[in-house]
Symmetry: C2
C-alpha cells in the first residue's frame, strides 16, 4: 500500500493541478478507475468524472488552492484528513472541510466522502 | 428515508442496550443485514457480527455508556457525528470519536467507519 502521506499529497495536488494532461496523469496514479467522490457540493463516480468535476471546481475558484490542514488519521484501509481552500494571493480561507477516504488494495483511492467544516 | 436524528439515536441506543433481545431488535430496525462497522479497535461485517461486537465492547466497558456529542452533519446518504464513552457513575470521559455513516435506500445504516478523536 502506498504511503498515506504521499497518497494525500497527490490527492491535494490533483485539486490544484490546472494542466489537464498532468492532472489526468496524477489522477490515474492516485484514483482507481471506478473511484467515487462525494461532498455536499459535487460528485464524481469514476476517475474521468472526478477529473471533470475538479476542472469545474478550479474554474469556479480561480486564484485559490487546496492545502492540507493538520495530520492524517489512518488505520486499515481508511483515513481522514482536513483541508482548506485559500486564496493564493492573500491567503484568505474561503472553505475548510474534512475528507474520509477508503484505499483500494492496489494503494489507490477508491472512495472519498467530504464534509464542510465551516 | 428515516429521520437522521432518530437513526443516530437508535444507533447510540444499540451501543448502550445490554438486554440481548432488545439490542437484536433495535439492530434489525437500524442496520441492514449486511451492514458493516469498522473502527481502529473492532469490526463487524453483518448485523449479527455487529451485535456480537457490541456485546463484547459492553463487557469490556462495564458501567460506561455512549453519548452523542454535538450536532449531526448529514447530506445525501452520508452523515457524521461525534460521541463520547462515559462512566455512568461519575461522568468521566474514557474515549471520544467521530463516526461516518452511509445510509441505505431503506433508511437503515449500511456502513459506519469510526475514528478516535482522543
Amino acid at each position: 500500500m502506498t504511503d498515506t502521506t504521499t497518497l494525500v499529497d497527490h490527492y491535494v495536488a490533483i485539486w490544484n493541478e490546472r494542466d489537464a494532461e498532468q492532472r489526468a496523469a496524477l489522477i490515474a496514479e492516485t484514483w482507481t478507475e471506478d473511484g467515487a467522490y462525494l461532498d455536499p457540493l459535487m460528485s464524481g463516480n469514476s476517475a474521468a468524472e472526478i477529473d471533470a468535476m475538479i476542472e469545474g471546481a478550479q474554474l469556479q475558484f480561480p486564484r485559490h488552492e487546496i492545502r492540507k490542514l493538520g495530520a492524517i488519521d489512518a488505520y486499515n484501509d481508511r483515513m481522514r484528513f482536513s483541508w482548506e481552500l485559500v486564496n493564493v494571493d492573500d491567503g484568505t480561507r474561503l472553505l475548510a472541510g474534512t475528507d474520509f477516504a477508503t484505499v483500494a488494495e492496489d494503494g489507490r483511492l477508491s472512495a472519498v466522502t467530504g464534509f464542510l467544516d465551516e
